[in-house]
């Protein structure tokens, strides 16, 4: 390139800056949008990698159903390529916050791997401290300094041990059902708000699965390792994180990472292939030994029972014999005692007769003695009275008379006292007065003697008092001897009875004791029997377990299984797809624009080109200058576009995407290769278009060029022979001939109009169809809008929840619903929700499965119906097998029976209960699907909160809406870009075309105007053509737009979804009106040239 050629090129650029700028701008747009969107993926990936590096994200996660031991860890760390190994403990806890239960996944803090990134506060160092995931903390309203208390473990998976209650086992209880056993304490102080590279995506969908009723993990938290009870993990660690040196510094999403990762993964898997079976053997042996021990115990027990029963038998006999003997002995003793009793009775009789005789004698003697005593006392009394009276007299207390009178009186009284006695013994009794006291007293003594001499009758015998007294003594002696004999007899008898009773008691005791012993023995046997009875099913179970004990492999999860990474990849894919379709679009538009821009320049510069040719410029040189022209535009455009893409487009997309990830705003990405490829591609294509645009001109001889372009050659067309033709108005004929004769313009205008119409239609179709997918799902497929999750381990819970909902006026259906992992054809795994109705009739009311292939949905068939996206994006066909990971290490081959309409953004699979039961085992519904009317889900939740086993209730329709809005927000950006592009395209293409056309027609128009055409008429002469072409263009564009719309919709579909791809009426209308308007405006602007025409220009060459 010669200096002046460059000067000329620059001058040319300056002179035709609008065209130059159009090319530049469209290249900038194409490059900017493409690179911006394309780089959005790598930028996101880099952001992920940065977080992964900072948080020391594991390269692999090894999981093993039987747990990984320290031994395993040791071997893992020795594996080539493995540089760090760290075990992780996990437990699911329930946290209650404001009436709602949240399932919290509690993990041990990684020290070297998966180290949480502190947002606020300080990482826990003590068992009672906890770090809360940032997103979770926000959701649950938890801040640093708060205290949280977990209710109980969500895990209720029980694994009975054979020796669970024998207590003599040292077997670890890793699978213990009591949640608290996982943790030393249940209350924690929140010391930090953190993020984790393991959970880079914000959506709680990426937290993994728990065994809570909804299967969801609602929140994440970390505690120090010693917060966990190590005993609960004695069997092994559930998860071991692994980092590999060789992957250090490699981007997670690069091919190199994949490749190297696979190598290490291979080795880890190989290690697993050795260790897993060994572990299996160990467990199997242990279990087998347990079974054998159990069997031996049961056998021993049975033997003991037999022995016990034998002992019981002989014990009974012995006891019976001993009782009989004792009883006989007692009977004879009783006999003897009865005889003794008779003897005692006769002795008693004799004693009593002796007694009565004695009593008679005693009473007689007593009477006599009494009389004597009376008399003697009377005498004594008289004496004492006389003495007292005398004393008083002497003391002159009384007078003599008084003294005498008193004595007289007293004497009379005393005389009457003894009068009866005297009469009885026949003694006369003088009166007693103060004179004869002395006599009277001595008289008394004689009276006593008299009495003594009186005879008495004792025992029929008349006896004197003294002999009677003797007899009495005799009688007394006799009686006392008899009495003592009797008493000894009684004594004897009493002791006999006592002995008898003691013997009787002894026998009773012996009997009781014997019976007790027997009963004890029996009880023991019973107990032993019961034990065996209890142990036998356990043994059976244990046996079954041994039989069922499966050989599991280690699950080695590379980063591609990390939910955050997957999310990143999904968005990268979406942006990649989008960028490709957008790039295609922009390149096509850019090509058109460049073609027309260059065409226009070439067109305007025909004479210059001719001159140059004439002056000896080589075709190549002229071409080169045009190519350089475009090339500079492309390069400048590419650079500007790159800047725009890097800053603006990446900024917009990054702004949207960063909200979905924990790492927040991240730097934009720039990569030379794509920049170079895109620039070169644009360069190649636009240079191609440029070449095409100037090729035909350059082919022409200089003379032809200098003469100006050949006017369109009019010639007779076939239709001109039609009768109809002649009847058409002249302007129609003119339009038709103009169009037919200038095909380039016709095609170009149609393409230009069609392009902007297509862009508008595409943009609006894209915008509307995504939301239409949502509407379709909830209008045509789902009859429900709400999902209640229930703990199906609580008996009757589902039914209770169901009833509450029905009482609130909801239509309901009970289903079993759970997420499983399925293996995809590409070797990765995908989440798949399996839905199993418990009652097909109610299910059919709420879930209209509209089949897209495989015929009518039949839930009694063996296999599953699958959501259409799986078929579309995984390339699955009816009849293919989906391998479902049972979650417990089991794999199930489920044949695909058909696909159904499904518009949400995840995979789903519906199968009949019978088939599910057959393939996956027992199940019971854990979800109630409900169509609730006006009732708010929050209210329903409150009503349900009392129902035992109720988990949560979700307004599914609203939740999904948010999801769709996200896609919609991505598409809105696209829409805006498309619309801007449509406008720009119409400016550049249509305006250029119109201007070129008017210039071309300049002479014709001037001639018409010279001949009296008004400006208006001259304008319409041009405009009619344009209108006709615009109409054609719009028709073509609308059709194209509908097609492109569905392609673009398909492009932003994530691999888990299919979106509706409908012709959108609004899009068509806006497309028609919009492009018509644009065409109209561009036409109007171009037509402004006509009034500026100078009629004298007709003479100009």
């Amino acid at each position: 390139m010669k200096p002046t050629q460059i000067t000329e090129l620059l001058a040319n650029i300056k002179a035709t800056f609008v065209s130059f700028f159009s090319i530049l701008m469209f290249v900038a747009l194409g490059v900017g949008v493409f690179l911006g969107i394309s780089w959005a993926g790598p930028a996101l990936q880099n952001a992920f990698d940065a977080m992964a590096d900072e948080g020391q994200l594991h390269n692999y996660q090894v999981q093993f159903v039987y747990g990984l031991t320290d031994d395993d860890l040791g071997k893992l760390s020795e594996t080539e390529g493995v540089s760090q190994v760290e075990a992780e403990r996990q437990s699911f806890q329930t946290l209650r916050r404001e009436e709602s239960n949240y399932t919290v996944k509690l993990q041990s803090l990684g020290q070297e791997i998966d180290v949480p990134l502190v947002v606020e506060g300080e990482l826990p160092i003590k068992p009672g401290e906890l770090a809360m995931h940032e997103e979770s903390a926000a959701k649950l309203g938890i801040a640093v300094g708060d205290s949280v208390t977990f209710e109980h473990d969500v895990v209720q998976d029980e694994t009975e041990s054979l020796q669970a209650d024998s207590g003599d086992s040292a077997e670890p209880k890793a699978d213990t059902s009591d949640g608290m056993q996982y943790l030393h304490g249940d209350t924690f102080k929140v010391t930090a708000i953190v993020n984790s590279a393991d959970y880079a995506a914000r959506s709680s969908e990426t937290y993994g699965y728990s065994n809570s009723p909804s299967g969801a993990v609602d929140a994440l938290a970390w505690v120090s390792d010693d917060a966990f009870d190590a005993a609960a993990f004695r069997q092994g660690y559930p998860v071991v994180n692994v980092r590999s040196e060789s992957l250090e510094g490699l981007g997670t999403f690069g091919d190199e990472y994949d490749q190297k990762s696979e190598e290490v993964e291979q080795r880890v898997s190989e290690l697993g292939d050795v260790l897993a079976p060994a572990r299996y053997d160990e467990l199997h042996d242990k279990a087998q030994k347990q079974v054998e021990d159990g069997e031996k115990q049961i056998a021993d027990g049975k033997k003991k029972i037999a022995e016990g029963e034998e002992k019981l038998k002989t014990g009974r006999a012995e006891l019976d014999a001993a009782i009989a003997e004792g009883e006989a002995k007692l009977a004879s003793a009783y006999q003897k005692l009865q005889e003794g009793e008779a003897i005692k009775a006769s002795a008693e009789k004799k004693l009593s007769s002796a007694r009565s005789k004695l009593n008679e004698a005693e009473s007689v003697l007593d009477e006599v003695d009494a009389a004597i005593a009376e008399v003697r006392s009377t005498a004594s009394d008289l004496k004492s009275y006389k003495a007292s009276q005398d004393k008083e007299l002497k003391a002159k207390k009384i007078t003599q008379e008084k003294h005498d009178a008193n004595l007289d009186k007293y004497g009379a009284t005393q005389r009457s006292r003894i009068a009866p006695i005297a009469s009885a013994v026949g003694v006369s009794l003088p009166s007693i007065n103060h004179t004869n006291y002395g006599d009277a007293i001595s008289g008394m003594n004689s009276a006593v003697d008299a009495i003594k001499n009186t005879s008495v009758t004792v025992d029929g015998k008349k006896l004197s008092y003294s002999s009677a007294r003797e007899l009495l003594g005799e009688l007394r002696g006799e009686y006392s001897s008899k009495e003592s004999a009797y008493n000894s007899k009684v004594q004897e008898l009493e002791s006999g009875w006592a002995k008898y009773y003691a013997g009787q008691q002894e026998l009773e005791d012996k009997k009781a004791e014997g019976e007790k012993k027997l009963a004890d023995g029996k009880a023991e046997v019973e107990k032993a029997k019961k034990e065996i009875q209890e142990k036998e099913p356990l043994l059976e179970k244990a046996k079954q377990k041994v039989a069922e004990l499966k050989k599991y492999d280690w699950t080695v999860l590379s980063r591609s299984h990390n939910a955050g990474a997957t999310e990143v990849l999904t968005f990268s894919d979406v942006t990649k797809n989008l960028s490709i379709s957008m790039a295609a679009l922009f390149i096509i538009v850019g090509l058109l624009v460049s073609y027309f821009a260059v065409s226009r320049i070439v067109h305007e510069q025909v004479a210059q080109i001719g001159t140059k040719k004439a002056l000896g410029f080589r075709k190549g040189e002229i071409t080169k200058s045009f190519l350089l022209y475009s090339g500079i535009a492309v390069l400048a455009g590419a650079i500007i576009g790159t800047i725009v893409g890097y800053t603006l487009v990446e900024g917009i997309i990054g702004g949207t995407l960063s909200q979905m990830f924990a790492f927040g705003p991240y730097p934009a990405y720039f990569g030379w290769p794509l920049f170079a490829i895109m620039t070169l591609l644009e360069l190649a294509l636009i240079l191609g278009a440029t070449y095409l645009a100037c090729r035909s001109i350059l082919k022409q001889h200089a003379v032809e060029l200098l003469r100006g372009e050949k006017p369109p050659t009019g010639k007779a067309r076939f239709y001109e022979k039609w009768a109809l033709w002649d009847r058409l108005p002249l302007f129609v004929q003119t339009i038709v001939n103009n169009c037919v004769n200038d095909r380039r313009r016709m095609i170009s205008t149609i393409v230009g109009v069609a392009g902007s119409a297509a862009l508008i239609v595409t943009a609006i179709t894209l915008n509307n169809d995504v939301m239409k997918s949502y509407d379709r799902q909830y209008q045509e497929d789902y009859g429900f809008n709400t999902i209640a999750y229930v703990d199906n381990k609580v008996e009757g819970a589902v039914g209770n929840v169901d009833s509450v909902l029905q009482a609130e006026g909801a239509t309901t259906a009970q289903v079993f619903m759970k997420r499983y992992l399925v293996e995809c054809s590409d070797g990765d795994s995908a989440a798949m929700r399996i839905v199993v109705p418990s009652d097909q009739e109610t299910f059919a009311q709420l879930y209209h499965e509209n089949p897209v292939s495989g015929g009518e949905v039949d839930l009694s068939a063996e296999g599953a119906w699958v959501s259409q996206a799986y078929g579309k994006h995984m390339g699955a066909k009816v009849g293919d097998i989906i391998i479902v990971d049972g979650g417990d290490g089991s794999k199930h081959e489920v044949p695909i029976l058909g696909f159904y309409d499904f518009w949400l953004t995840y995979h789903e699979m519906v199968m009949g209960g019978d088939y599910f039961h057959k393939e996956f085992g027992d199940f019971s519904p854990n979800v109630v699907l409900a169509q609730v009317g006006d009732a708010s889900v929050a209210d329903l939740g409150k009503k349900l909160s009392g129902v035992e086993g109720f988990g949560s209730i979700v307004d599914d329709a609203t939740a999904q809406y948010a999801n769709f809005e996200m896609f919609s927000s991505v598409s809105s950006a696209v829409v805006a870009i498309y619309l801007v592009l449509a406008a720009l395209m119409s400016i550049v293409v249509l305006l250029n075309l119109n201007v070129m056309f008017i210039d071309e027609k300049k002479r014709e128009l001037i001639v018409l105007m010279i001949n009296g055409f008004s400006q208006k008429k001259a304008k319409s002469y041009i405009a009619y053509d344009s209108i006709v072409l615009t109409v054609f263009g719009i028709i073509v564009g609308v059709i194209l737009g509908c097609i492109m719309g569905s392609i673009t919709v398909a492009a932003i579909e994530p691999s888990t979804a299919v979106f509706v791809k409908n012709v959108d009426a609004v899009a068509v209308i806006v497309g028609v009106v919009g492009s018509a308007l644009l065409a109209f405006i561009m036409g109007k602007i171009a037509l402004r040239r006509i009034p500026k025409f100078k009629l004298t220009d007709i003479n100009k060459q």
Partner: protein, 406 residues
């Protein structure tokens, strides 16, 4: 008197008339021949002068017919013209077979010669040359009667030559740099084929100022374009310095133009986005050994305008820049198609002056014009008619541009 005699007299009268009015001998002979050919209905004719400086070699000075005899010459006694000159007696070759007279046949390429009449002419002092007539009316051979007429008329013309009247210096053409043989050019427009050039035989000589003159639409530009390598002939041969360009590709033609040809267009065709100087430089850079652009501008008298853009200059100035542009690459030949057509008289003269200078500087110039007056500047004038060369005049006394008047 029969009608043929009557015609003869009428022609004779006409010849006498033009000869009488002619200012120079050259003109008299030229006009006489024209009148004879036109009126007697011959296909063509030529006037040969004896070059006294070169053994009386006979050289053509003026001829009518679609042939280029410029370089042809006959020594006395050589060929029919030479024989007639030597014998000084008219010769008739009525049963002429061109194949037998190879040289003649070659000279008359493009004009099949079936009969010929050659008449010597002289003045009192010397044998001056030969007048040659070719073919009778409607390309039929001359009959005796026709031959008589030619002879008589030639003699009459010769008789008109005044004694001692000196002939102009015979013109010695330079080397042939371009050679066109039987060039035809047809334009197809749909079903209609327009034959524009119908067999042109023309040589361009080094250093000459050749003017192509003719009615509008006679094919001058078409011919010039072919000469300039801007267009290709439908048939015929075109060579430049013995390099056959008849079947040259576009690229070859481009190279040809690039290295050898300068163009001056009626509508200047300067690059509108470049200054005068830049316009020159743009072209100068195309060749290995260009003239200095400033110098070229100076040559056309526009040194002070070098920074002006075309739109800032008058038409004449633009055309002068255009000439400078043609000059700047030191081309072998400059082609100019009606360079003054769009200019007023005064400006035209300015431009023509520059061109005169250019030719004086040794550059071959081929100029197309329909302005008769301009032919006075030329070394050689080719008049075209209906796609053919009609007459060729060797102008032995070219006029200066300033002397032109129209």
């Amino acid at each position: 008197m029969d009608s043929s005699s009557l015609r003869i007299y009428r022609v004779i009268g006409a010849v006498q008339n033009v000869i009488a009015n002619a200012k120079t001998l050259d003109e008299a002979l030229q006009e006489g021949l024209k009148t004879i050919v036109e009126n007697a209905g011959a296909d063509g004719g030529a006037i040969w002068y004896a070059d006294t400086s070169d053994e009386n070699r006979l050289r053509p000075f003026f001829w009518i017919g679609p042939v280029d005899l410029t370089r042809r010459s006959h020594l006395p006694g050589d060929g029919s013209v030479g024989r007639v000159y030597e014998s000084q007696t008219a010769e008739r070759l009525l049963e002429f077979d061109a194949l037998k007279d190879v040289e003649t046949a070659i000279d008359f390429t493009g004009l099949p010669v079936s009969s010929m009449v050659c008449v010597p002419f002289s003045n009192a002092n010397a044998n001056l040359g030969v007048i040659q007539f070719v073919n009778g009316p409607d390309s039929e051979p001359f009959d005796d009667e026709g031959a008589d007429v030619m002879e008589i008329m030639a003699m009459m013309a010769a008789m008109a030559i005044e004694e001692n009247e000196a002939l102009a210096e015979p013109w010695q053409p330079g080397e042939v740099i371009m050679q066109l043989r039987d060039i035809t050019r047809e334009f197809k427009n749909g079903d209609i084929v327009t034959k524009v050039l119908k067999g042109v035989n023309l040589d361009v000589y080094e250093g000459e100022f050749l003017v192509l003159l003719g009615e509008s639409g006679c094919g001058k530009s078409t011919l010039l374009n072919i000469v300039g390598g801007m267009d290709s002939a439908t048939s015929g041969e075109f060579s430049y310095l013995n390099q056959d360009l008849s079947n040259a590709t576009q690229a070859e033609l481009t190279e040809f133009r690039r290295d050898n040809v300068g163009f001056i267009f009626q509508s200047y065709n300067l690059m509108p986005n470049l200054t005068a100087l830049q316009n020159l430089k743009l072209i100068a850079e195309l060749v290995d050994d260009p003239m200095d652009a400033d110098e070229a501008l100076e040559l056309v008298g526009l040194a002070d305008r070098k920074r002006n853009y075309p739109s800032q200059m008058s038409g004449g100035q633009q055309q002068r820049v255009s000439i400078a542009r043609a000059l700047v690459k030191n081309p072998k030949v400059i082609l100019a198609d009606e360079p003054t057509a769009a200019l007023d008289y005064a400006t035209s003269i300015e431009v023509l002056q520059v061109m005169e200078e250019v030719v004086k500087g040794g550059t071959t110039m081929v100029m197309v014009t329909h302005n008769e007056e301009i032919t006075r500047m030329a070394d050689r004038v080719v008049r075209m008619r209906d796609g053919r060369m009609h007459e060729v005049t060797i102008n032995r006394h070219p006029a200066h541009a300033v002397d032109l008047v129209w």
